[in-house]
């Protein structure tokens, strides 16, 4: 079991800038977690520590039986895959397929294993139809899926997505939901940073809210999105449907379209 544990973790950048201030969290193996908060809240620094890109200045980051302090980033990256916010920082091959092949080939797997992983990764990201294409001919929002495929092909136990919803359209968001669902079913631990509250409400079992370098609260989307104190601290808003229902007297729980519909119907019945 590869639980991910952050124990009294702080991080300061060289020069003394404190980016994460004494946080604790446990993410169970197979969990599907979202991290929300404004830029500067410490989200990216936190996930970079999970991936070993940054080492905590104090405290421990433990993945299963590995303490990231004792391993190089490349070693940790075989257990924790990380999709950067900007795909252009990662892509350097001239076709989509070779970009996705790079990781598994680096890991010196057998040819069949590489082939099957690449095929799978391309398929679930919908990139199979562009596999011969140069990634830079695709729009930015699609290039993001190329880097997602590249990380999926690494077949790590934990995957981190940094703002995959940025700039995505309806279709892109749908595909992301499907990818998350598929990975969840395969038992992967998935940690996603997102600014899209609707997306978070409908795709995750647990939400971690961060603000000012600290964890403000954690819980199910139902709990988090009706915890006004926490939302205010993090300067976040409820999903639209929750806001509307709240204005109409709802006290909690509602975060999805179906729940909102049911709430409104019940209100109507009660009044009828």
């Amino acid at each position: 079991m590869k639980d991910l544990i952050l124990k009294d973790v702080s991080f300061s950048y060289p020069g003394g800038f404190l980016a994460v201030d004494n946080i604790n969290m446990t993410i169970k193996s197979g969990e599907n977690v979202a991290i929300v908060g404004q830029n500067g809240a410490g989200k990216t620094t936190t996930v970079k520590m999970m991936n070993g890109l940054l080492r905590p200045t104090s405290g421990d980051v433990i993945i299963g039986d590995m303490n990231t302090k004792d391993y190089t980033t490349a070693q940790v990256s075989r257990v924790v895959g990380y999709v950067f916010q900007n795909p252009d920082d990662q892509i350097f091959h001239s076709t989509v397929e070779s970009e996705v092949r790079f990781g598994p080939e680096m890991a010196k797997l057998s040819n069949e294993e590489v082939d099957s992983r690449v095929e799978y990764a391309l398929k679930i990201t919908g990139m199979d139809k562009f596999k011969e294409e140069n990634p830079y001919n695709l729009p930015l929002s699609m290039r993001k899926f190329v880097t997602i495929a590249a990380v999926i092909a690494m077949d790590t136990d934990v995957l981190i997505f940094d703002e995959p919803t940025a700039g995505q359209d309806l279709e892109g968001n749908k595909r992301l939901s499907e990818i998350l669902k598929e990975l969840h079913e395969k038992g992967k631990t998935v940690i996603t940073i997102s600014h899209d509250m609707e997306f978070v409400a409908s795709n995750f079992e647990r939400v971690i809210v961060m603000a000012k370098k600290k964890v403000v609260t954690m819980g199910t989307p139902e709990e988090v999105f009706w915890n006004f104190e926490a939302l205010e601290k993090a300067m976040l808003k409820q999903p639209y449907v929750s806001r509307v229902c709240r204005a109409l007297g709802a006290k909690g729980e509602i975060i999805s379209m179906d729940e909102a519909v049911n709430f409104l119907k019940s209100r109507l019945k009660r009044n009828a």
Binding site: L53, A74, F84, N86, D89, Q90, F92, G103, M106
Partner: protein
């Protein structure tokens, strides 16, 4: 009364050397480099080494200190020294020819090697050093204003100045990219071969990123009226520090004296 922003962006330097008009600094750089070449032709000792280049370097720390920028320059000097040291070692150990001057186990330093090593590494130290002085004591907008005043096309000026700024940003980007590659299992820590392997995956995104963003930046400039055919306003005005003439005089004089001395050595 509160200062206006236009007043706040002006640069008033107390140090008269640091505040020299940029073209005078450029002249000092040029003359210093010419002197380097003159000095490099003076061969000393039985091995015919251009040893005068070594004391000539001392001019630079003195100049930086007198300009009040010694600490700022120190870091750059360190980098320059490393490059020079690598050149020195490579040249002195690898170039064959002439007598053996020094033997360190199986390594031999030959006469010819030592000769080119000293000339080349100290030339690099000297010339790079004087540029460090110029760039550390001059802000980008001073350069850009001076270039435009000297009649350089505003587009060429833009390219020059933005390149100076971009070097810093490319440095930052390359760090991000290295991290992104490490995150997917490319080892960037370790020996030379490991680092070489990581080089390519980092270089491609860096270059492509620069190309893409320069395309977007061209449009941004266009949107800000970069191409408008009219007399442009300059919010920033260059000041002279008042000792331009004296500095020019001293620099020219030193060069002439050196040159005359060198010619005298030839004739005598």
């Amino acid at each position: 009364m509160e200062k206006t922003y236009t007043e706040k962006i002006q640069i008033h330097k107390k140090n008269k050397l640091a505040g020299l008009y940029p073209s005078v600094k450029a002249l000092v750089v040029l003359l210093y480099a010419i002197c380097c070449f003159i000095l490099s032709t003076v061969k000393l000792t039985e091995y015919e080494l251009a040893l005068l280049l070594i004391p000539w370097f001392l001019v630079i720390p003195v100049l930086c200190a007198a300009s009040g920028a010694f600490n700022k320059c120190l870091k750059a000097f360190r980098a320059v020294s490393i490059v020079a040291l690598v050149i020195f070692l490579a040249q002195s150990l690898l170039i064959p020819g002439g007598e053996t001057v020094l033997k360190l186990g199986f390594l031999k330093v030959r006469e010819q090697g030592l000769r080119t090593a000293i000339t080349l590494s100290f030339m690099v130290m000297d010339i790079a050093g004087i540029f460090v002085w110029m760039f550390q004591t001059t802000e980008n907008k001073e350069f850009s204003r001076a270039l435009e005043n000297s009649g350089m096309n505003y587009k060429a000026t833009y390219v020059f100045i933005s390149t100076l700024q971009m070097i810093e940003i490319l440095g930052k980007n390359s760090k991000t990219i290295m991290n992104a590659q490490r995150a997917r299992g490319v080892e960037t820590e370790g020996n030379v071969i490991v680092r070489m392997k990581a080089f390519f995956p980092s270089l491609v995104p860096l270059v492509l990123g620069a190309v893409i963003s320069s395309e977007e930046r061209v449009l941004t400039l266009e949107a800000r009226g970069f191409d408008v055919a009219c007399e442009k306003t300059h919010l920033f005005n260059l000041e002279k520090s008042g000792i331009e003439k004296q500095v020019t005089f001293i620099a020219v004089l030193m060069t002439i004296v050196l040159l005359v001395w060198r010619i005298y050595l030839w004739i005598a």
